[in-house]
Structures are given as structure tokens and as C-alpha cells.
């Protein structure tokens, strides 16, 4: 399986008034055809920066190194005009905030149609017809009526459907979904995930899912990349990673997920938190970035940041003490 999207040694550094900040450090991952890869981590760990780097939409004070290729085509060296053709056609994106991601002054039909007119050169009429199909695809009730409506006439879930319809209008190869369900209530969340699943099956879109919701990950992802403070710290297929987490941070994340089923079995009632905060990185780390919050930390952790090392057939972790004494409770499985 040749990867559709290949990110290799991607680093992003922001030049701020307080000096350079390393937002992403040598991130490497691939997304295969029809594959759903989840980027997981706390707020500020570099998930969204990674996705914006793929689309080349970072502000000018960000310096990006490494390689990003789509079907073998290098995106980092494309001209501004060429990357604009890629955006929305080959790689598109949906956001966390459906309430504010649509322009309040334009109708739904116009906004979906704009993408089609721009990338597919459709006429207004063709674009309208296609927009109806797209709204049907995202299971929008009364699709034709919606075309003439304005965003304020739709609920959050419906707006997110419109955003998805816009994002998949040109059948993109990769869809980047940046916390697509965070702002929606759970019933709508499940519907949106169903729609994403269908898109993968029907349109053949690969999905890069950015989230901190492990429930969503377990539900839809094939592979998971765990990020912490700009570093990729664990990577692997979702089942392996959830059943045999190697990095103490992954273990901690899984321990912080509410599990009503465990509670019913008489498991521990309290969620376990990870003490401390994500550090802001100024320059390359001289010790393991997670060491200050880590229960396994020893002297060696203060000396160097461990590289990703293989811990299973397809699983990798960046930890000096990978897999040791993992306090995995019985029953934590995807």
C-alpha cells in the first residue's frame, strides 16, 4: 500500500518575540488510501500546526522544514498558485467550529458552489445541481431547500454537514478533519462520524483526524499518532495502541477516559489525571519532554529525548522505558 499522504521529518518553528518556539519536531507519518489516521494530543501539542503545515497556511513567521508529499508530489516546494489548486481539491479541511466557519452573508448553495466553480469550472447551474447531491451525501434533510438558506437558519450539526459537503465537493484525496465533532452534542457526533465513514467508503477519501477525543479515535481511526509538546511519542494501529500502550503518556491518556462500562463492573471510579502542564518548547529538548510529568522518569530521561523505537510489529514509542510496568487496567481495549 503506497501512502497517499507522506509527512517526513516535518518540523515547524515559530519566531516569536520571546525567541523561537518549536511547535512540531521531526514529525513523520503516512496516510494510506481510505485510511483514517488520528493525530491525538492535548491542546497546544502541535496537532493543528501540523495540519496547517500540510496546507501551507502557517503565518510567515513559521519556518517549516521536512517533506510533505501527496501521491509522490512534494507540497512544500509548490508555488503559491499551485498550492492554492491543491487546497480544497486534493486536500481539504473541516474545522471544529461549524457555527463560525460559514460566511453569514452568503447562502449555503453559493458557498458550496463557490468551491465547485473555482476548482471544477462549473457554471452556476451545474454547481447548484452538484451542491444538492453533496448535501444529500452528507444526509442533509430537504437538501434543495437548504441551498437558498443562510447559515443562521441552520443548526450546528447541519452547518457541520455543509462544511463537510464543501470539503468533499471536489472528491479530495485527503480530508483533514480538525476536531470535527468537538463542538457538537454526542448524538450529532455519531452522525457526523457515520458520514465520514461513508465518505471513506464511497468517495475513497483518506482522513487525517485531529482530535483529543479517544472515544472518536476508537470509533473511526485505523492508526493513531500520539503527540506531546510537538513530538510524536507513540504511533501504531489503533487496536495495538489501545490494548498495549507503550508510552506512559498514552497510558495516562487512556486512564483519563471516562469508562461507564468499567464503573458498572466495579472498576475504579476516579479518572486518573496526568499531573502538570504541557511545556512550551524553546529550541531542541535536552531531556525527554514528558519527563517532568512522568511516573517512570529516571536519570536517563533527563539526559536525552528518546527517538521513536519499534515496540511491536507496527507500533513505535519514544520512551526510554517503553512498555515497562504499564499500569494498564484489564478491560481497556478499543
Amino acid at each position: 500500500m503506497t501512502p497517499r499522504l507522506q509527512v517526513d521529518e516535518l518540523s515547524v518553528e515559530f519566531d516569536t518575540d520571546e525567541g523561537p518556539v518549536l511547535a512540531v519536531d521531526r514529525m513523520s507519518f503516512t496516510v494510506g488510501p481510505r485510511e483514517v489516521v488520528a493525530l491525538v494530543g492535548e491542546s497546544g501539542c502541535g496537532k493543528s500546526v501540523t495540519s496547517m503545515a500540510i496546507l501551507r497556511l502557517l503565518p510567515r513567521r513559521a519556518s517549516v522544514t521536512g517533506s510533505i508529499s501527496l501521491d509522490g508530489r512534494e507540497l512544500t516546494s509548490l508555488s503559491e498558485t499551485a498550492i492554492r489548486e491543491v487546497r480544497g481539491r486534493d486536500v481539504s479541511m473541516i474545522f471544529q467550529e461549524p457555527m463560525t466557519s460559514l460566511n453569514p452573508s452568503f447562502t449555503i448553495g453559493f458557498q458550496i458552489g463557490e468551491v465547485l466553480r473555482r476548482h471544477e469550472g462549473m457554471s452556476r447551474k451545474q454547481a447548484n445541481e452538484r451542491a444538492v447531491e453533496l448535501l444529500d451525501l452528507v444526509r442533509m434533510p430537504a437538501a434543495r431547500t437548504r441551498l437558498r438558506e443562510y447559515p443562521h437558519q441552520l443548526s450546528g450539526g447541519m452547518r457541520q454537514r455543509v462544511m463537510i459537503a464543501m470539503a468533499v465537493a471536489c472528491s479530495p484525496q485527503v480530508l483533514i478533519a480538525d476536531e470535527p465533532t468537538t463542538a457538537l452534542d454526542v448524538t450529532i457526533q455519531a452522525q457526523i462520524l457515520d458520514i465520514l465513514r461513508d465518505l471513506r467508503a464511497d468517495v475513497g477519501t483518506s482522513i487525517l483526524l485531529i482530535t483529543h477525543d479517544l472515544g472518536v479515535v476508537a470509533d473511526i481511526a485505523d492508526r493513531v499518532e500520539i503527540m506531546y509538546a510537538g513530538h510524536q511519542i507513540e504511533s501504531g494501529p489503533v487496536d495495538d495502541l489501545f490494548s498495549r500502550p507503550q508510552h506512559p503518556y498514552t497510558v495516562g491518556l487512556l486512564g483519563a477516559v471516562p469508562r461507564p462500562d468499567l464503573l458498572a463492573e466495579g472498576g475504579s471510579r476516579r479518572l486518573r489525571e496526568i499531573p502538570g502542564l504541557v511545556p512550551v518548547l524553546r529550541g531542541l529538548p535536552e531531556s525527554c519532554v514528558f519527563a517532568p510529568r512522568c511516573t517512570r522518569a529516571t536519570a536517563v530521561c533527563g539526559e536525552s529525548m528518546p527517538p521513536l523505537a519499534r515496540t511491536g510489529p507496527e507500533q513505535y514509542a519514544a520512551c526510554h522505558h517503553a512498555g515497562e510496568d504499564s499500569p494498564v487496567r484489564k478491560g481497556i481495549q478499543a
Partner: protein
Amino acid sequence: MTVAVATELTARAQQRRRLRRRFTRRPTAVIGLVGIVVFVLVALFGPLLSPDDPNATNYNAIFVSPFSPGHLLGTDDLGRDVLSRLIVGTRASMEAGVLATLIAAVIGVLCGLFAGYYRGWLDTLVARATDVLLSFPFAVLAVGLASILGPSLTNAIIALAVSLIPTFIRVTRAEVLGLREQDYVQAALVSGATTRFIVFGHILRNCLTPLVVQATVAIPGSIIGAAMLSFLGLGEQPPTASWGTMLSESQNYLGQAAWFALFPGAAIALATLSFNMFGDGLADVLDPKGDQ
């Protein structure tokens, strides 16, 4: 399909009806609108409406008092019919008000849009230039520019337009700075939209409301400004009639014929008041939070 079209039509009709009701419920706004319509009609059809030749002098009928037969508003120091001069002079005032505002709006909005969207050195340059121009009072700037350009109506309009540009830049730029950070602008970037569509579609469309309101404030401002420049001899040149030149001519005769100054002054005040009342009403109607 037909059902869809029907509901859509009613939705739009409802929206329009709601806006109209919000407007008509404000009597000041309606009066303002009526005033504007009257002034615009007079400006357009002035020469046809004026009872006399505005430039015909009659030395046998100097300072005829108002409400005399044949001269409803009396005659001036050269025996010219004041009503006719007032009517014909409306065009110069309206032209100055509308044209100066239009020119200022186009230039100011363009500068504000690009400065606010691109930021960087362009923005710094535009914003600092705006600050410099705004540090002069409007009247001083307009008089200064008009005297450099030389006295004529065209130059007066140019001077007024230039003096109005900085406020339009400031209003637009402030809006753009907020709008460019909106999620839908980000979403448009992500979907590969061109800069032109983002700036003129997404952003300009959403700053129209404050701009329309700004324009209704700028028009009366430049009507007064034009009258001021003519009064100082920097605008429309005599013998051509304009409200400002009439005021200027009247000042020498305030002791003998005070009413001579009253009529052009009243015309300026009424025109300004109409635009201001309309503008206030419009601002209320266009503000989505203003619906009680």
C-alpha cells in the same frame, strides 16, 4: 421543487418586509428619506423647476422682500430671484456631497481592505498616513487642499474627497482586521479561494453595513464642506448659484436684509438634517441587535 421555491420566496419576502417595517417604524428616518428624495429631485430637475433665470439681474428690483408677487423668497443685491438661485444651486451642493463621498469611499475602502488584509509594511504605511491626515481638522484639511488646487467646484470636490478618505480607511481597516481572523476566511483559504474572492467576497460583503452608515454621515459633512469652500470663495465661482456663494454674498447685507442669509442657510441645514436622520435610522435598521 415548487414547494422549495415557494418557501424560499416567502422567506425572502418576509425578510424584506421585516426590514421595511423596522424602517417605517422610525418616523425620523422616514422624514429624512423624504427630505433626501425632494433634494435629489430638485437637484436633477432644478433648471426646469426654477421660476426665473437665476442669473438675470434686475436693478429695479433689488432686495425685494420675501413673499412679494413674482419673488416668493425675494431678490438679492443684484435683483436676482433668490428662490431660483436656491433651486439651481441645489445641484452643486448635492453633487459635492455625493461625489466627494463616493470618491472618498471607493479609494478609502480599497486602501482599508488591502492594508487590513495584507498587514505588513503596506498596513503600517496606510495606517500612519491616515493618522497624519486625521490629525488635521476636516475643515482645515479641505480648505488647505482647495486653496492649493485653486478655486473651482471640481477642485472643491477633490479636496473634500481627500479629506474624507482617512475616515473611510479607518472604518474599513478596523472591520477588516476583525473579519480576516474569522473562521470562514480561514475555511475559504483552506478551500483554495483566490485572494480576490476572499477580500471582495467574504470580507467586503461583511463590512458593508458600517460603510453605508459612514457614507450617510459623510454626505452631509461634505455638503456643509462644499458650502464652506464656496463661502470662502474656494468652490463654485460667482455668478453661478450655489448655497455657499449665496451665503457669502449675503454677509455684506445682514443689516439690511437678514432673510437673504436665512434661505441658503436653511437649505444647507435641511439637507444635512435629512441625511443625518436617514443615516441614524439606517444604522438602527441594519443593526441586527436593534430589533425590539
